[in-house]
Symmetry: C2
Subunit: 453 residues, 2 copies
């Protein structure tokens, strides 16, 4: 019999709860602050934007939160996501390291984002909400939320970062296939958008402001965020919990290195928090690595401070690694990694030293993605390719040192709608990969507000 290379979970082995890392952290993360009063945000401050269940999940200290039956049913249509032993890539790399890839690209909408889109749409629906607004960068979140809304017969309005809107018409079409409506951000439909000239390339910060502004003003609408917030990270822990169990089924006693890419932080958190739990609670010693692009080096060169999550300052102040909320990153191809901040929970565990941040240039990432495609047959998203590139670094180091680590890579989605970027890479025409200069960084950081906390 052929040795198993894709590891599956039986129905009774699948997670029924999301895992909340806060319950196991020795020190709690700093609370979000009201953007006007600078006082800790209470549940009431969030009711204009979110339904009560999500607000409760945002602040809960409970270790496990039950996944609603209706959400489990949708998860069961595409989960567990495969954990694949990347044997063909291992052969190519001539390594004795054992590489496992947790692949989320087979999900509806092609990325991990649907894991939180579905519960967010569901909780809104059972609270009588039939209209959601949101932003999208690379487009994967907008796609996922559109699909989730279509499941519950809800309207979905997506503000897509201008640069992404202009260069990737297929992404807009995909969102429309799922029934969503797409606006180019900055738009002329909101005050936040009108602050910028037409044709501005946009940023996630601007798009968030627009979507929040519309939802806050409309009693029938609420807002949904695809990353950053605690409840979003919570939902994504389905990824890491599955991976922990699948790794066990693969015969491993644990991971030595776990690697994920980080934009807003939800993919990374979803993958690593269950492994961090093992480190904190069970005394395991997996190295947990967060990879960001060199052109948007939030964790490696940003400051750990309270800052706004959006450009217009409509959402709460969060203590996080930030480049400054006015930061407009270089239009690199990994659009999902171009956020000026980082999820407070991810920032906290990085700041506490539980997770190592690294920054990589995109050409190295595309090279790894092409090698991975030619061996494993999967075209990774430019975002996910950052994790592949870091894994390759770890493998080459292990080869040199003669070690045989067990490496788990989070592959957050497919790159099939980013083939234009691959074409540029293959032709040697990649653009937008400039290292952020010290001067630009200083200017951007100067916009971070000075707040005690």
């Amino acid at each position: 019999m052929t040795e198993q290379v894709t590891f599956h979970l039986e129905p009774d082995e699948r997670p029924t709860h999301w895992y909340n890392i806060v319950a196991d952290l020795p020190t709690p993360p700093a609370p979000p602050l009201h953007p006007g009063t600078h006082q800790p945000v209470g549940p009431d401050d969030l009711t204009a934007l979110f339904p009560p269940e999500l607000i409760e999940q945002e602040v809960t200290g409970e270790r496990y939160v039950e996944i609603p039956e209706a959400v489990q049913e949708v998860y069961a249509q595409y989960r567990p996501a495969p954990l694949i032993r990347a044997r063909k890539w291992e052969e190519k790399l001539g390594t004795k390291a054992r590489i496992y890839v947790k692949y989320e690209g087979g999900s509806p909408a092609g990325s991990h984002k649907v894991n939180t889109a579905v519960p967010q749409a569901y909780y809104n629906k059972i609270n009588g909400i039939n209209r959601l607004t949101t932003e999208t960068g690379a487009g994967q979140w907008g796609t996922a939320l559109s699909y989730a809304c279509s499941l519950y017969d809800m309207t979905c309005e997506v503000w897509q970062v201008g640069h992404s809107f202009d260069t990737k018409p297929q992404r807009r079409t995909l969102i429309e296939v799922f029934g969503g409506k797409v606006y180019r951000s900055p738009s002329q439909d909101t005050e936040s958008g009108r602050a910028f000239e037409e044709g501005h390339p946009g940023s996630l910060g601007i798009a968030i402001s627009e979507a929040v502004e519309v939802a806050a003003a409309a009693p029938d609408a609420k807002y949904a965020l695809g990353s950053v917030l605690n409840h979003v990270l919570l939902h994504q822990t389905i990824i890491g919990q599955e991976a922990v169990k699948q790794l066990e089924k693969a015969g491993e006693t644990g991971a030595d290195i776990v690697i994920g890419c980080a934009g807003g932080g939800s993919n990374l958190a979803g993958l690593i928090f269950p492994f961090l739990r093992e480190n904190l609670v069970e005394g395991k010693k997996a190295r947990l690595v967060a990879v960001e692009p060199a052109s948007c080096p939030t964790m490696t060169r940003g400051t750990f401070a309270y800052d706004f999550g959006d450009t217009a300052g409509l959402v709460p102040l969060m203590k996080m690694y930030t480049l400054g909320h006015d930061f407009v990153p270089s239009p690199i191809h990994a659009g999902g990694l171009r956020y000026h901040g980082m999820a407070p929970l991810v920032s906290h565990v990085v700041h506490e030293g539980y997770v190592e941040p690294v920054a990589l240039a995109q050409d190295e990432c595309f090279a790894a993605a092409v090698e991975f495609a030619r061996t494993q047959g999967i075209v990774a998203a430019p975002e996910s390719s950052h994790a592949l590139a870091q894994a390759k670094r770890e493998v080459l180091k292990a080869n040199e040192e003669g070690t045989e680590p067990v490496i788990v890579i989070g592959l957050s989605g497919y790159g099939l709608l980013e083939l234009g970027a691959f074409d540029s890479y293959l032709k040697g025409n990649l653009s937008g990969d400039s290292q952020l200069s010290d001067e630009e960084l200083a200017t951007s950081l100067s916009t971070v507000p000075v707040i005690e906390g």
Copy 2:
């Protein structure tokens, strides 16, 4: 516990052999004839194009052919392909029919084609061949063969049908990501191609001629075909064998209706032959339905006769449903269904009455694909959407008649590289769906050679 909706097979439940329907057919299909002598083709006639193992598989009467260990290892990276109970679509259709979807889009290269690309590349490799030529229509076959060749460090040269090449640059890029080299067909590099003016939209028949011509002239190269031939259909039976077992795990005693789309016939055969086996050997009575586009109605309006498989008449004459080997179909979006003929084995089982052919217009197919995407989250290839549209017809009929059939749909691949077609559909701008006129049909059929057999 949530009821299972995606059905998996454990390693020891997976097929270790391909299934050969010829062993169970009461009457044998007609043999292929040499294009010059009109005598049955012998193995020697094929050695310029194929390695010995594939020639043996082309003519074998054995019921089961063992899958090489090395191929099983690659299959294990992405198989079993999921059998998904399409509950959300069922809810939308308000039906008590139970709809199961066998989804091949999660495979490397995004379609079922890799199931045969890998063994074809493998058998060539072990025979010392390091260069393969092929044609591609929609592009899925070229993508799959490029990936398979990259696995074995082989060169892959792909003649892509001109219309597809011109309108889908992403497909070309994807083939290049996997390491393949793409030519627009008709090209100026071959005699077969130079017979047409530059800019001609091309056809699969022309592209096959070009790829065959190059391989036949080069001692270091062989040719690989993505459909039509017996050995290709044989490899695809991994699909139906898995589906039969998965359906059993889903608690069903069998299928009432099995539906697949048919272009060259390999997807259809791969899905239905194991179900046809149950009909022939076990006395089951599943209806087996083959869906083709109304603009290329090979089985429903073609003639069952010996014809050439390619435009230049380089490959053997095959007895099959054909529209005439000069037929250039309307450039509809389901490029994989635009072949003038149909696999001889599929033609045979249709002609014997074991399989029902139907032809559908593409607007109905896109409508079904959009509804399916909004419920199940999967964007089906335009080819596969033909099976979805027929399934919807069957469901509506069942609803009317008060029956509750078990329906199995073959979803051969994803449509993520065909979003331009979906955009046209959503905007009401679909082109190229003209019903073939009786006059055009008669003209085309007049090119079918008159051969006894």
